[in-house]
């Protein structure tokens, strides 16, 4: 009990003795955590967006007007066998015209369709892919069919897919790198804050060692001081996040309108818990590094 009081008092004393350093490291921890939370949320959103767009990726095979129905069915069966393909739909010339008319009805810039005498639109096979990454391969395989009398053209949008995948990868890796650097800087600042605290109390530490205090007890106030930095940093970060939560949620709701994405009901609670956990871990870890280095000299 006396020991516990000592540890608590010493930790608080250490934290408040050097307010500039304590505030600086608290702010750094908070900044790091806000960035972390921002990164996690963004990454979540991007991943959902990619998943959604992957579902939408499709290839279109335009068919020759001369192709026989049996040939088309045969081709369709072959395409469906590919494991990267999830679905193949046949769009006849009439269907295509119908779609164009519906589109024209909603758009003033497209003239009345009635003026067209014959139907110039080709029939097509619309291919939905299960795996967006495979779109390039599937498309190139199908291009081999062009000129065989059935397929006249293969239309895909691999650039869009590739770009999207690249963007998410760059963002993820970039985010991780920045985050890693932030973690490192934060740890560095905590280590230094506690090192200064250790230095300020080196006489006290020397006496504790001489009278036979254990390393654990000597370390405890410093580790606690590091955790205080972590806790205050996390609290500050959560305040910022809660403040930002209103506007962010509104825009998220709009965003979610377009994308059927859900962050999950516990997502924010888990994020907050993660933020606190990480802050405590970094505070305790950084402090342990400082005091143990001092004690093992």
């Amino acid at each position: 009990m006396t020991r516990l009081l000592y540890v608590l008092a010493a930790a608080w004393h250490g934290f408040s003795r050097n307010p500039f350093m304590s505030v600086a490291s608290t702010l750094t921890v908070a900044l790091m955590l806000v960035l972390l939370a921002f990164f996690v949320v963004t990454d979540r959103g991007l991943q959902s967006a990619v998943a959604l767009l992957e579902q939408k990726v499709e290839l279109v095979l335009y068919l020759s007007d001369d192709a026989k129905i049996s040939q088309i069915l045969d081709l369709r069966a072959r395409v469906e066998k590919d494991p990267a393909v999830s679905r193949v739909d046949y769009v006849s010339k009439d269907d295509a015209l119908q779609r164009l008319k519906e589109l024209a009805a909603t758009r003033a810039d497209i003239g009345p369709i009635e003026e067209i005498g014959s139907n110039p639109l080709p029939a097509s096979l619309e291919i939905k892919l299960a795996k967006a990454q495979e779109s390039r391969r599937v498309a190139s395989e199908l291009r081999a069919e062009v000129g065989g009398g059935i397929v006249t053209e293969v239309v895909d949008n691999p650039e869009v897919v590739d770009q999207l995948l690249t963007i998410t990868r760059v963002l993820s890796i970039g985010g991780l790198v920045v985050l890693g650097m932030m973690l490192f800087v934060t740890l560095f600042i905590i280590v230094n804050t506690i090192r200064i605290a250790v230095h300020a109390r080196r006489d006290e530490i020397e006496i504790m060692q001489l009278v036979g205090a254990t390393d654990q007890l000597i370390s405890a106030p410093f580790v606690l001081e590091g955790m205080l930095v972590g806790i205050f940093g996390a609290a500050l970060a959560l305040l910022v996040l809660i403040g930002a939560a209103g506007p962010v949620t509104t825009s998220l709701v709009k965003f979610l309108d377009i994308l059927p994405v859900s962050l999950g009901p516990n997502f924010l609670a888990r994020l907050a818990a993660g933020v606190f956990g990480l802050a405590l871990l970094m505070g305790a870890g950084g402090a342990t590094i400082s005091i143990r280095t001092h004690l093992s000299r």
Partner: protein
């Protein structure tokens, strides 16, 4: 209580501070360690509390080989061996009482024990009236008595004093030495490293004389010089 077998100590820079020391100090002894500056007195003290490790040989304190002690057991050794230095090593922001109680608090004693034992130690060194003073408000002798109280409050088996009177005038020196004799009479083994010929000669206690790291004299009722 203390046995040194064939102990040598070589510092990393190559200096041999102790060579081939064989020494036995039974429980209850009062020993003066004498010798000129650099003879190895402080090094000997440091080996006893494992502040330094012997380069060769064994240092056995209370039945335990100090070098074999795991790091986690070192605090237990230090609770058995109290230390006092020439420069007192008091914490300036703590009162006399707090300085002494500090040792008990950081070794995990409960509140009642801290109060009772601190008062007992302060009474023993005669500092109860000064308990709420800060070190800067004390004379050198009072500061050293505070340091002795802080060592004694742990009820150590051995008290090691490294030139405890080095900063004190002759009258105060005698006060401190009498206190150390009293502590010895109460059952604690006491080692005093000193340059003070007068007190060594007056007390006629056991004298271990070091010279260039070797024991050149060990007498039961010795004088400062042969």
């Amino acid at each position: 209580m203390i046995t040194l077998e064939d102990v040598s100590k070589r510092y990393p820079n190559g200096t041999y501070a102790l060579r081939d020391i064989d020494l036995h100090i039974p429980a209850g002894d009062f020993v003066f360690i004498v010798g000129s500056s650099g003879a190895g007195k402080s090094t000997l003290n440091r080996l006893l509390i494992r502040e330094e490790l012997p380069t060769t040989g064994h240092v056995v304190v209370d039945g335990q080989d100090v070098a074999r002690l795991r790091r986690s057991k070192v605090p237990l050794l230090r609770r058995k061996v109290g230390v006092v230095f020439q420069d007192f090593k008091l914490l300036p922001t703590k009162t006399v009482y707090e300085n002494v109680a500090f040792a008990l608090i950081v070794t995990g004693h409960d509140g009642t024990t801290v109060r009772e034992e601190t008062d007992r130690a302060l009474a023993l060194v005669g500092l109860l009236p000064r308990r709420h003073h800060f070190p800067r408000e004390l004379s050198g002798g009072e500061q050293q008595r505070t340091a002795i109280a802080r060592a004694l409050v742990m009820r150590p088996k051995v008290l090691v004093a490294d030139e405890p009177t080095g900063n004190l005038d002759p009258v105060t020196t005698w006060e401190i030495i009498k206190l150390l004799v009293r502590v010895n009479e109460l059952g604690t083994t006491v080692l005093v490293a000193t340059h003070n010929a007068e007190i060594v000669n007056a007390l006629r206690r056991r004298v271990v004389h070091l010279d260039h790291g070797r024991v050149i004299r060990d007498e039961r009722e010795g004088l400062y010089a042969a």
